[in-house]
């Protein structure tokens, strides 16, 4: 039977290639996701290990890498002098580090973009646990004084600066934008890879003067153990000398903890990518089932002959599964290779938006290969199982008949199976909504998948009226050719349904995302419209906080009545992170209206804070209850003074004052300044004044309400486009599926094509007939998909209505465009099969059995 399977595959190389293609793309996505996140991981590993010394001394950590806000605590310089006395410490170095220092390139644009951090610190000669020095001066000399800096080589190159140039920096200090001469270049570690982060090096005195009010402090102290002294030994010796609230950790532990935090973030990225890989695999499964069903149907006579010659059901069954296995193995192999290329593509894409992986390796780990093959082969073989079983059930006597056919399940049964799957899916989604077993999202996703499969099964029947209506359109527009196309699309409802379903899955998700995106935009607009009373907003498009000096200067302008600041941070409650928004004086009076569920905004003072209504409901807290929150300065207990509506402009978990936040140990840095112009001042004059304050800093910009809203919408759109692009792959697979099905149908109907040509059907008419059949399939898929997407969109919008998406808005025009595009997609899918059919020799075709 092996030989028969292989012969079959070889005899149908094209069909093999086409059915394998769905697997290739799906597996490529899986492999690419792993390789890319592994590459990210190895880049971060390099940074973490390259910056960590044998023992690290720092204020006790409360919040970790994922948290927002800068810890204001420092260590006294005198501590370093004490530690220098330790005989087991070979080297002791203090670092004064400031986050949020960015380099403005020679072209006036920010280097690095959004995401990667911009760090400033003093030069250090410390070596990391890797044994390599953290920094090495590679050109020029070290900076001296507040007007000189060194940059890392990558940043200088990207910014277009060379030694001797004057560099513009955006800093959280005052003044926020400063110029400094570039005196030297440093290399980070041995490779220089910083994943897009930028390093600005000052001398110690300068950095203290600029960012620490000239105080003799460090943000951390690193120690290198003498030969023969272990990290733990040195840590214990150091710890004994430290004041309370300050901790010493071994480099290995710090590196490990940081890596864990990063791995968690990278895990999200990987999961995010794998979800799309999963969608692609589901679509691919539809196509493999379909391809194998068609192949089995076309070969039923040959299969019956095998049975007549004594092959058992099992042998026939196995021969089909073997084919699937070989297709799976070949497809996975090509998929892993393509996935590697995809990861390289992702790497340069991320590099283009600032997350530069530089020289980070692209490890193809054994785990990646194993997962890829397991997924690829399992999906292929599982998808081929039903067709294979049907192949086995062909009766031997069929071999003697002219019209041998493989038995197929009844449409009615399919319809009922589909309907019950839809029911089960609805239950799963409801369970997901209720958050059963803490698996809300996973259950909801599974429910959606089950519903989609159910609709796909039922679409053999559901699709019929749609196709008939399309048939009327085709008849009007194209006469008999249209009728023939409609008949062809109706003659094998299973095939049409399965092919259309592949497109349905992709489009359902695209429609779902566009509904959520649109709802988010409309909700944001309404929240801003209803809450923001200040006319102008200063904010940073890259979400990085900026110097509080801006707000102070704007406040002093003539035409400005008030300039209220908004800051963000995070704290820890019961081990989990909570998002905190802090408002400066005047915000709640002049700039922002916050809808309250209970209590008043005036309650916000002293130890009293405001809480989001969903958080309050989740935690069972109300006005007057106490809440302990971990902040840099330790755990503090606050009183819930009021509960605000999460659908206003403030969507974080807690609302505090900037004073409370500073007291909790955060460096004052603003995220937004809400400006109200004086009565009678012209907007254009006020804007010109504020622009004067913000000049030279391309990231912090002034917007009026409409522009601010547009910026918010643009961010939602950007996210939406990324998701569209990822879902695009599923659509591409579905289009290939239509091509594949049509090509197989043309082969199957060769005889008929010959006949039609013989009685006078022109080549163009023939091509049009196939194109119309393709359009019928894709429009059916698109309509089903959009319908499902609208249903899912409504349900999911309800599910996230307490997370800031409280208004349901369905972008009908956009959805209509998707359906219209499916006509184009259908035409494209038909190009090759139609050309192939038109090229058939009439006489050969008609004599084909």
């Amino acid at each position: 039977m092996w030989r028969i399977s292989l012969r079959n595959l070889l005899a149908r190389k094209l069909r093999l290639a086409m059915s394998a293609f769905a697997i290739v793309l799906g597996v490529a996505f899986v492999a690419g996701s792993f390789v890319f996140t592994d590459s990210l991981g190895s880049a971060f590993d390099g940074i973490v290990k390259g910056t960590t010394a044998d023992v690290e001394v720092s204020p006790q950590r409360v919040v970790d890498v994922q948290s927002v806000g800068t810890d204001a605590r420092t260590l006294p310089a005198s501590l370093m002098q004490h530690l220098r006395a330790l005989p087991d410490a070979d080297q002791v170095a203090g670092t004064a580090e400031v986050p949020g220092v960015f380099v403005i390139g020679a072209n006036g644009k920010l280097v690095g973009g959004n995401g990667p951090p911009g760090l400033a610190f003093n030069y250090t000669r410390m070596s990391a646990i890797t044994g390599v020095r953290i920094l090495t001066l590679t050109a020029g000399r070290l900076p001296v004084g507040v007007d000189q800096i060194a940059l890392d080589e990558d940043t200088a190159r990207k910014a277009g600066y060379s030694v001797g140039d004057v560099v513009t920096l955006a800093t959280p200090g005052d003044p926020p934008v400063r110029k400094a001469r570039l005196t030297g270049l440093v290399r980070f570690g041995s490779s220089g890879g910083l994943v897009g982060a930028t390093l600005t090096i000052f001398d110690l005195r300068a950095i203290r003067q600029l960012f620490f009010d000239g105080r003799p402090v460090f943000s951390g102290i690193s120690l290198r153990a003498a030969d023969g002294v272990s990290q733990a030994q040195l840590r214990d010796e150091v710890q004994r000398m430290l004041p309370p609230g300050v901790q010493a950790q071994t480099g290995d532990k710090v590196a490990h903890d940081t890596q864990q935090s990063i791995a968690r973030v990278l895990g999200f990225i990987n999961t995010f990518l794998l979800v799309f890989a999963g969608v692609a695999m589901v679509v691919g499964t539809f196509l493999i089932i379909n391809t194998f069903s068609i192949l089995v149907a076309q070969r039923s006579r040959e299969l019956a002959l095998l049975r007549a010659m004594g092959a058992s059901k099992r042998q026939v069954n196995t021969s089909v599964l073997l084919e699937a296995f070989v297709v799976g193995v070949l497809g996975s192999t090509a998929g892993v290779a393509l996935g590697y290329l995809l990861a390289i593509g992702l790497k340069s894409l991320f590099g283009a938006i600032g997350l530069d992986l530089g020289g980070a390796g692209m490890p193809l780990q054994g785990r990646t290969v194993v997962v890829s093959y397991v997924v690829g082969v399992t999906v292929t073989v599982a998808a081929a199982y039903l067709p294979a079983r049907r192949a086995g059930s062909v009766s031997p006597v069929e071999a003697m008949r002219d019209d041998a056919s493989v038995p197929e399940s009844s449409l009615r049964r399919r319809m009922w199976t589909g309907a019950s799957m839809v029911g089960a899916g609805v239950v799963l989604m409801a369970m997901g909504r209720a958050g059963v077993a803490g698996q809300g999202l996973a259950l909801t996703g599974l429910g959606m998948l089950v519903i989609l499969v159910g609709v796909s099964l039922a679409s053999t029947v559901l699709g019929r009226p749609v196709l008939r209506v399309l048939g009327l359109v085709f008849h009007r527009a194209f006469g008999t050719v249209g009728d023939l196309a409609t008949q062809n699309s109706l003659r094998n409802p299973r095939r049409t349904a399965a092919t259309a379903s592949a497109l349905m899955v992709g489009l359902a998700l695209v429609a779902l995302m566009s509904i959520l995106g649109q709802s988010a935009k409309v909700s944001t607009a309404r929240a801003i419209d209803g809450s923001l009373t200040a006319g102008l907003v200063v904010s940073n498009a890259t979400q990085q906080p900026f110097s509080p000096a801006y707000a102070e200067r704007i406040r002093r302008l003539d035409g400005v009545e008030s300039a209220a600041v908004i800051r963000v941070a995070s704290g820890r409650v019961d081990g989990g992170l909570v998002a905190v928004t802090a408002v400066g004086p005047g915000v709640l009076d002049d700039a922002l209206h916050i809808p309250m569920g209970a209590g008043l905004t005036t309650a916000l003072h002293g130890q009293s804070i405001l809480m989001n209504n969903t958080v309050a409901a989740d935690r069972g807290l109300g006005v007057g209850d106490h809440l302990a929150i971990g902040f840099p300065n330790g755990t503090r207990t606050y009183v819930v003074g009021g509960v605000f509506d999460s659908n206003g402009a403030i969507r974080s978990d807690l609302l505090m004052t900037t004073d409370q936040l500073e007291a909790a140990g955060f460096v004052p840095q603003d995220s937004m300044v809400l400006v109200t112009a004086s009565p009678g001042a012209s907007e254009s004059r006020v804007r010109a004044e504020i622009d004067g304050v913000l000049k030279d800093n391309p990231t912090v910009t002034l917007k009026n309400q409409q522009e601010f809203l547009d910026e918010q919408k643009a961010q939602i759109d950007q996210l939406l486009y990324i998701v569209y692009a990822l879902l695009g792959l599923a659509v591409v697979i579905a289009v290939l599926g239509i091509t594949n099905t049509l090509a197989l149908s043309v082969i199957e109907r060769t005889h008929e094509v010959g006949l039609l040509r013989a009685i006078g059907l022109g080549r163009r008419q023939l091509r049009r007939m196939i194109r119309l059949e393709s359009i019928a399939i894709s429009v059916l898929g698109a309509l089903l998909g959009v319908a499902m997407g609208v249903a899912f969109g409504i349900v999911l919008q309800r599910a996230v209505s307490d997370q800031g998406v409280d208004v349901l808005s369905i972008p009908w025009l956009r959805l209509a465009v998707f359906v219209a595009l499916s006509v184009v997609v259908g035409s494209l899918a038909a190009v090759l099969p139609a050309r192939r059919a038109a090229r058939l020799n009439v006489l050969d075709a008609i004599t084909t059995e």
Partner: protein, 257 residues
């Protein structure tokens, strides 16, 4: 059946037709210089042993295949060097074809199948003529049936009606009774005969059955790609006798088969 007048006009004319398949050493001549006139309003049979080129001849004449050299004139037009577009139009407008294997479109019912060539051409159905044809094939109560709901004989009659309904200048039938039992064969042949007699339809039929040939006005015998004999007003016995003579004649030659 009366003998056709020699003055009758010519519906199709074949002059020095050659058709070769393959290249180089594998080259095989299916037609080796065939010249033939098909007279209008006459029922002509083309007979010959397997491989004699009879199917190739009518495929070329029906614009389904193109000859290597030679001339085919159909309704006054030389079709030997037309492109695909013109050939398609010719098949659609001037030629009807009946296949051995019925060749109906499975998704269409009998009426739709019959009207298909007209529909493809965008021509209107001549209802009166349609009814006449349907009446003649005796399919009035089968028009709503799909091909798989019809017997072989009925399917072939639908195919005949399809060939006739566009009033082609000439109908070609390639072993139309090859798949039928004797009763169904008789029905189909009767219908073809009648359409010649009543509608003056020109028909060329390939067959290897002397009984079928006996329904025609004239039998042309082919062997090894050449016209070797001809018989007017044939009877089954006469055809059989000529066939045996022809096969004896070609027994000594190498090609054929």
């Amino acid at each position: 059946m009366e003998a056709t007048e020699p003055t009758t006009s010519v519906a199709a004319q074949v002059v020095g037709l050659h058709k070769e398949y393959g290249v180089g050493g594998a080259r095989v001549a299916a037609l080796d210089g065939v010249s033939l006139d098909i007279r209008a309003g006459e029922f002509t049979a083309v007979m010959g042993p397997s491989g004699s080129g009879k199917s190739t001849l009518i495929h070329c004449m029906a614009a389904l295949d193109s000859p290597t050299s030679g001339q085919i004139v159909l309704g006054g037009v030389d079709i030997s060097h037309l492109g695909d577009k013109e050939l398609t139009r010719l098949r659609r407008d001037k030629v009807g074809f009946v296949f051995q294997a019925y060749n109906l479109v499975p998704t269409l019912n009998a009426r739709e199948n019959i009207e298909l060539p007209l529909a493809i051409a965008g021509r209107h159905v001549d209802t009166a003529w349609f009814d006449v044809v349907i009446g003649a094939v005796g399919l009035q109560d089968r028009l709503k049936h799909r091909p798989h709901e019809l017997s072989g004989g009925q399917q072939q009659r639908v195919a005949c009606a399809r060939a006739l309904v566009s009033r082609p200048e000439i109908v070609f039938a390639d072993e139309p009774t090859g798949n039928l039992d004797s009763r169904a064969s008789h029905e189909v042949l009767e219908f073809l005969r009648m359409s010649v007699d009543r509608f003056h339809q020109t028909i060329v039929m390939v067959t290897h059955d002397p009984m079928a040939a006996a329904y025609t006005d004239r039998v042309v015998f082919l062997a090894d790609g050449k016209v070797v004999d001809e018989l007017c007003d044939p009877t089954a016995a006469a055809v059989l006798e000529r066939m045996q003579r022809a096969s004896r004649g070609s027994a000594g030659r190498t090609s054929g088969g």
